[in-house]
Amino acid sequence: MFELDRIIGISGVLCAVIAATPAAADDDWRANYTLYGTPGIIDMPTAVAPADGEIATTVAVFGDTQRVTFTFQVLPRVSGSFRYSLIDTYDRSFDLQYQVTDEGQYMPAISVGVRDFIGTGRYSSEYLVATKTLGTNVRVSGGLGWGRLGSLDGFTNPLGIIDERFETRPDDSIDTGGTILSGQFFRGDAALFGGVEWRLNDEWTVLAEYSSDIYERETTLIGFERESPLNFGIKWQPRDAYQLGAYYMYGTDIGFAATILIDPTTPNFPSGLDTSPMPVGVRAEGISAAATWDNPEVETASVDALGSILAADGFRLHGAEVVGNTLRVRYENQRYRAEAQGVGRVSRILTQVAPVNVDTFILEPTRRGITTSSVTIRRSDLEALENEPNAAALSYDRAIFSDAAGPAPAVEWEDPTPAFLWGVAPYLELSLFDGEEPIRGDVGLEATFQYELRPNVILAGAYRYRVAGNRDEVGSISESDLPDVRRTSLRYGAESGSGIENLFMSWYGRPGQNVYSRASVGYFERSFGGVSGELLWKPVDSRLALGAELNYTLLRDYDLGLGFRPACSGTDCNSFVGDDYDVITGHLSAYYDFENGFQGQVDVGRYLAGDWGATFSLDREFDNGWKVGAYFTLTDVPFDDFGEGSFDKGIRIEIPSDWLFGTPTRDTSSTTLSSLERDGGARLRIDGRLYDVVEGGHQGQLEENWGRFWR
């Protein structure tokens, strides 16, 4: 299921990107996207690799076939795609393409790819393709295809020379889909395909191809007529941000495609529209700060002033103290996504406020009331490096990073912001691709509140009231032997239209050096409430983190009230007998921050249906806050019992809001495209897990973002 609570956010990204990107550059010929939403011509692939990190979303229609594809250039040579299509039925598919060689002066670029390699395999095919640019405006591609791409005039598989078994293509797919179809890769008959892209000018490209796909499935099942292997098209790309195409397909049909392109590495405002930082107060030039804070009255007044100045720049001061020649401050950065930028701005404010006898600053940024790190900066370095060339690298080299588990600074600052905050905002909730009906959704109002007992003890909740929508039309629930921990999630709030989304209290702590803790109680998510505890070990400079989580939770009532319920039974899942469903779940987790910007995570433990297994995730994290990743979960639930999809898997995207608008904020929009929601491999959803809280303040991310220290 494609759960898109923040659909406005995502569509907003698309619109903002289209409105703001410059017209297409003429010096590099970027990848053209096909009706499959992958790099290629019309239906056939090419060996062209899109720009690293590029995200392309394509909507394509021809005949009765519809495809929505999301393609991400995972690495400079690797493209990955997720597709949701209407063939004879709604179907999901995943593709991968690897560019083996770049184009040379005489050598073509060569790529190898697998299409629809997991699952039911309705588009299952593999290919080897070569692409060569002739002159500046003609690109010619030719390749060898297997599976569907070997279905027109297929000949005996040349790989049969290696092993005769290559000559037959077994049907590897299982009824529930979801498994990798490696047993049929590059097997069975092969066929040739090819085509030409001819660029007329910067905006227009003419396309022609010979397709080796005979469209057997569509011809048999949905009456598709295919009279010719030749496809023709014209593509219009007036800006880098989108491509529009019109096509004449297989001698019978007209087709259309629209692709929206996002390059996460190029925001509209690279340095942001954040207001200017306070200039460094240079002692030699004279500053208005006190000579010392030895007098308690001076100390209180100075900390007061510091708190107000920091508050005006989006920081909340927890406390400050001067010991010897060192000023230590503990604060929370509430405005700037990059903690390094926060450290830079706070330290410049300190140069104006710190007593003249102080020569060292210790900054302790916090999240959710707990310290994440301690950064020591020499005052003289700030004075010497301000506005100098290479100032960021030099100041990083001179800063010292360590753990900040110690006691709070002696002088507290009373934050005048009330402890109770509330808000009312609209919400739009969509669930897409859930099999029976492609789109379901609600709009309404969401009321949220937050009450801070201590900076690290927070009670928060959200209540939703539906104004309109069709999420109440819940279809049939598929049968399963597992308790319905996720399968019936569409029923939550469907009838009542409103209810408590979450309501829980969390207490964060620092039990010791390098160790972080969380204890939570309440209604964590729509389906579960209970108690949850977590511990995380993560030294400030370590790329590795280890965590442990233990939860005892009960299954909530569908009406999103305060009650709990038994798991359902019977056909259509309409009978509820026995005790309320409760379960102990927990995981041991390992997180690793790879040097190339990838972040891996493995969670091993017990899931909500009582099943045991592990979740594997890999995310590419851009230094500007974008995240694109994928995950899958394997548990002891057999694929047959799991139901459609065989096991839980999906991809996820997180977009920082400051990337979009340039204005500083820590907000992000995120969404997950996952397989159908089933009961196996389901994990408790709880906001504020420790790794997410702590990661941004540790040395890895501070270093990645140190370019913003002087911003």
Binding site: V13, L273, E383, N387, T448, Q450, D667
Partner: protein, 223 residues
């Protein structure tokens, strides 16, 4: 289903207006939606970027009455003009801020850094420019920018400074005899031409200098 969706979308539009309360800023989708509405308006990038506050009716009397030093600046491509005030000094570098949060750092009249313009100069070494303003010549210049991933991007420019003419420059009733110096710089991706009106004692009374690809040129007059 079509009917339902029309009503859903129209309701969404209505509902967006009604966000309130101190916590509503945490709702990213609302902010994003507003951003989209704004970006749909013409000339969005200029509208979204802050500009220097519009200049008051300036007179020499008003200028003399101010306690802090002032510059009149305009960000030429954004057609924005206003006053900036001296707020800090670090050695030869002077930081000038606008009331709406832009800042410009000048060293002997040469732009060293900016903040708040969306595509800022993070820092640069202008010692060779200062020397060339006196005697002309060719030299290399390095400018640090911040790229889209938050990393410092160093660009090196091959520059040449020429004395092009002398000019009597009048700024609010005062006239200065200036030498007009033109600086031509060529880099890997961008080239630019800066102009300096240098007074007899070396003061730069007026100048037009390139900031970055995303911002273009800034012009200023010393008041």
């Amino acid at each position: 289903m079509n009917t339902t969706w029309t009503s859903v979308l129209s309701t969404a539009t209505l509902v967006v207006v009604s966000a309130c309360g101190p916590l509503n800023t945490k709702n990213a989708s609302v902010g994003v939606f507003r951003g989209v509405v704004q970006s749909a308006m013409p000339d969005d990038s200029a509208a979204a970027a802050p500009s220097v506050e519009a200049a008051q009716a300036l007179t020499r009397d008003y200028i003399e009455a101010q306690e802090t030093n002032m510059l009149r600046v305009s960000i030429i491509d954004r057609e924005a003009t206003g006053l900036i005030f001296e707020v800090g000094r670090n050695g030869d570098k002077v930081t000038w801020n606008s009331p709406d949060g832009l800042s410009f750092v000048l060293e002997a009249g040469v732009l060293v850094a900016t903040r708040g313009l969306g595509d800022d100069v993070m820092g640069s070494d202008v010692s060779s420019v200062k020397a060339a303003l006196r005697s002309g010549g060719s030299y290399l210049r390095t400018i640090d920018f911040l790229d889209g991933l938050g990393q410092i991007e160093r660009s090196v420019y091959q520059c040449r400074m020429d004395n092009v003419r002398t000019e009597a420059l009048t700024i609010f009733e005062r006239t200065y005899t200036t030498t007009v110096m033109e600086e031509l710089c060529t880099g890997e991706t961008h080239s630019f031409k800066n102009t300096y009106w240098r007074g007899g004692n070396g003061t730069i009374w007026q100048s037009r200098q390139w900031i970055s690809a995303g911002v273009g040129y800034v012009g200023y007059q010393k008041l």
